[in-house]
Symmetry: C2
Subunit: 604 residues, 2 copies
């Protein structure tokens, strides 16, 4: 089996073509840099998900390995993210041992759903999420995540509330319990992180001295590894105090050491019931607890992943293969106690900036995480919680986007609505409902536009001074929801301009449906009763076929402006003759008269 055949099943194999030492070094550097980012983020996001810190590390190595084998975009790094951690946290507060169980099962099920989406080609569902909705969703999520970290940042003990308002309220109510050392550490940490982030933007001129260039590289390394540095420094401080018998900060506490065993995800669990009893939950109970998140976590994961691979890989990326890679990262991850994972935008950017050449970098990241699990966990207990909160807060701050508001306000205020609906409902009711409502608001407008197409109504006349009304839909579909609306517009036009011929300009209408065709037939009958002729201008072959099949008799048609002139002139002559006939009817035989006057354009 050649490399090409292997690539059919293991797309990652293509990266081995021409893989050389230079590539290997680049990938090693990038892999380690990403690893230094994911270590503190993993610990922090696990806490955000309501789990012990090690689960963040369990989630941080399988994705990289799987993606190295299956992925198609070198920059993508798969692992825990703030957004998915937040969504997971919904199910980790039921007590007993159920917290990690729910998280791991959710990871497994999300992977299965992603596989189904790949098989059924449902990845395109994320096309239904518009940019304003995405922005509303991520901004609201960032606020919720940020709020959820306030307690830890201020050193207030106890779990955080579930909703945004609740969390803020709890912080305000218990503000008196805030601890000074934690608060100082927290805010200083945020300030340091934001300042270090700025270091990245320090540009080194191309003709700089060697020393200046080395400084530039140092700045970049510090900026990129700022989270790891902060955690290292703050835990060193905490360690120092600890050695002196002092505990000024609330610390992370013992982090379980060792690599997680390979085992099936948990299909049953126990939650705490009344009076310190434990209640057994079977698979069905667990699924019912996870509920809509089984579908929503994959959608959000795919949305994130697609955004990243498009941003870095352009349209050369095969979305279905990406979906399979993501799916396997979750399914295999769940066997190693992972929480739901997806591509991380921030770490992918680090990866890109570190000069990664292939997804093999992910293997080095994974190795680093495994090493940390084996060797560093005794030191993780000294990490102050406030420092981890600072890591999270300074990451999610940049997820709040307001730049889209200005262009939308200027050109298309209507589009602000789905974004605002998503943002507000995500904060007030929950991110799932917020996203759903935003998508529905967007789709409602698509339906609205089809139901109420813009129609222009003009009164004009042919070169021979035959006046007529021309109705011009500025929409390419004439479908059922628009039928009554079009009829009403035409009725009003007749009322206003009198009983002159109506021309329906269908030159940009590419599709008629049955309801619309039937409606046009009813309109024609109504106009016939008023002796108002109806001419259809420039209908396409398909539209004509539909009209012919639906309406038994044919409509007056014209293919071009010139034909329209002829048709209208004939109608005018016909009308005059009919008037004449009423006066002198005894003199003329109506049948012979009719034979003399061709009104169909076919006879021209």
């Amino acid at each position: 089996m050649g490399l090409t055949q292997i690539e059919k099943f293991v797309p990652g194999a293509r990266w081995l073509r021409g893989y050389n030492a230079q590539f290997a070094v680049a990938d090693l550097i990038a892999g380690i840099t990403v690893g230094l980012t994911v270590l503190p983020q993993g610990l922090a996001y696990a806490t955000l998900a309501g789990l012990e810190p090690q689960y963040g590390l369990y989630s941080a190595f399988v994705g990289g390995l799987v993606y190295a084998l299956m992925g198609g975009c070198r920059e993508v790094t798969i692992g825990p993210t703030a957004l998915l951690a937040l969504m997971t946290s919904r199910h980790t507060g039921l007590g007993g041992e159920s917290g990690p169980h729910f998280a791991i099962l959710l990871c497994f099920l999300a992977g299965i759903v992603e596989l189904l989406m790949a098989v059924l080609r449902l990845g395109a569902l994320v096309d239904l999420i518009s940019l304003p909705v995405t922005v509303g969703f991520t901004s609201a999520t960032a606020l919720i995540i940020g709020a959820s970290q306030l307690k830890a940042l201020l050193g207030i003990r106890g779990g955080s509330g579930s909703g945004f308002a609740e969390t803020i309220k709890a912080v305000v109510m218990r503000f008196g319990e805030a601890r000074v050392p934690d608060s100082i550490l927290g805010f200083v940490s945020i300030a340091i992180l934001l300042a270090l982030r700025k270091l990245k933007d320090v540009k080194t001129p191309q003709d700089a001295s060697k020393g200046r260039k080395a400084l530039g590289i140092t700045f970049w390394v510090i900026a990129t590894a700022r989270n790891a540095l902060l955690v290292l420094i703050t835990s060193s401080i905490a360690f120092y105090f600890d050695q002196n018998g002092q505990r000024p900060f609330i610390l992370t506490g013992t982090v379980k050491s060792g690599i997680p065993g390979f085992q099936l995800p948990p299909f049953s669990t126990q939650i705490s019931g009344a009076n310190n009893t434990l209640v057994d939950l079977n698979f069905k109970d667990m699924v019912s607890e996870l509920g809509v998140n089984i579908a929503l976590v994959p959608v959000i994961a795919v949305l994130g992943n697609v955004a990243i691979s498009k941003a870095f890989g352009g349209s050369g990326i095969n979305p279905t293969k990406e979906l399979v890679a993501l799916s396997l990262s979750n399914v295999f991850g769940s066997f190693f106690s992972s929480i739901p994972v997806t591509g991380s935008f921030s770490r992918s950017a680090v990866n890109h900036a570190s000069g990664v050449k292939t997804p093999i970098g992910g293997i080095y990241t994974g190795t680093l995480v495994l090493l940390a699990l084996g060797l560093l966990t005794p030191y993780f207990q000294y990490i102050p919680k406030a420092a981890l909160s600072a890591v999270i807060i300074s990451a999610v701050i940049f997820m709040i986007e307001y730049e889209v508001i200005r262009p939308l306000w200027r050109c298309n205020k209507r589009e602000l609505i789905p974004g605002a609906v998503t943002f507000v409902l995500s904060l007030v009711v929950g991110v799932e409902l917020g996203l759903l409502a935003g998508v529905l608001a967007d789709l409602a407008f698509v339906v609205y536009r089809t139901a109420r197409p813009v129609l222009t109504v003009d009164v004009t006349s042919t070169s021979t001074e035959v006046q007529y009304i021309v109705i011009r839909p500025r929409h390419s579909l004439l479908y059922f929801p628009a039928v009554e609306w079009v009829r009403n517009v035409i009725s009003k036009a007749i009322k206003k301009h009198g009983n002159i011929p109506i021309v329906l300009d269908c030159r940009i209408v590419h599709e008629f449906d049955y309801t619309a065709a039937t409606g046009l037939g009813a309109l024609r009958k109504e106009l016939d009763a008023k002796k108002v002729p109806l001419v259809v201008l420039g209908a396409s072959v398909e539209v004509r076929k539909m009209l012919k099949e639906t309406l038994k008799s044919t409509l007056l048609e014209a293919n071009s402006e010139e034909e329209l002139e002829v048709v209208l002139q004939e109608l005018c002559n016909e009308g005059k003759r009919a008037e004449l006939r009423e006066v002198v009817s005894p003199l003329l035989s109506p049948t012979t008269d009719h034979q003399k006057v061709p009104i169909s354009i076919d006879e021209e």
Copy 2:
């Protein structure tokens, strides 16, 4: 206060303008004819709704009176219909006295919801129900109603099952209990009704003799009053047997005599619980039992009413005023123990054919019904149940429509799907879900069309032999769900045809949204990397504004084919110069070169 001012509040007042003896006679004849139809139908539909027969008559007089005051279309007759009776029957089987209570409350709430729909201008919601969905819905309903009458037709005792399959199964299982006299009466009745219906179609020639004309009128009267005649004859037979001490048929039983009192609709009731006890339900419980039907009954009622008023009144009808008339018919009806009512297509057709001049005919119908309630009820008990079932079955047979299948099959098979979905789900799961699924299937296609617009891709060249790819969307909206699709099509086109300029023909695209504009920007960057120019042809002012606001830099644009030729030629020259520059770059200063070569069309 003049008539014009009264008309503002009582639109029916306009019918009094020029109302004369001739009109009065015409309305009287039509009113009585409709009355003869509604009497047997009312008794039958009440049974269909699971109530005692008199409730059908209680529902048959208020609508006519209200519509005479408020209505805008002389043919419309409002009263009980098979469809609404079927929907009501869902809630009348809970025992105790709750049957009529739920029906009357549903009538009241439906009226309130209709009023809300009128105030919020939501009548347009029925625009979302396409013809194929309507046909699927009414056909399925007709089958369900027909099936529900089989037991009574065959003389099998006991209530009917709830679903279509259940009902059919129950009839098959209990076929052995069928009673011969009832079955004979039932099938003969159906045969007679269908035969009498045909009498209507007997045409009298214009030059017929006086006797022939009288015969024609007699035929018409018999055809129109066939239900009343059948009920009269069959109950006379039953009465005759009864006088001789025989009871071969299952009879309707005592019908409560007298006009219902004016009273508030019931806001609490009692249903039967376990062990013959009664369970109290308050208003909230009742509303929760009625559930989605509180919204669906009004939608179906409005759909029926709109269809009738459009069919007879054309687009001169004000839908909001019709909605108010319908709403008040239900609200006031519920004070007289009515079940939900709407316009009846069959009775409106009878009204039209009887030569009605104004809705005042409804007052005569109502009077006839009240007289029947006062005087005829003792005789109604002799009406055989099989005869009423025959009345219902021969009415709903004609609601099954299959004529729409042929044109759809020929032109647009896709449109069969929403109709089929509605039909099948209505039969299998229930009419509410069937209708909802059908509407969603229709709307999904509207969204799909926007997400996957037809794009034509052509390779062509200018008169000066500059080759380019032109991408032409055949859709007037370029919205978020289509963005990735369009990008993919363009990527494929470049892969296939090489790196030649791309022209996006936006001449029929009237709307871009923010996501699409952003996507176009990303595409441009991607193409820039490949040195493929992107030209937007014929974008409207709004589209240009959107693109300019969203993308910081401007796109290459052309307003017409001629401008396009110029732009492409310039791009070609520019490309050649760039190649030249690469060879001879030391000789030329790039800045001055750039100043000499205007590539923007503004400088032409």
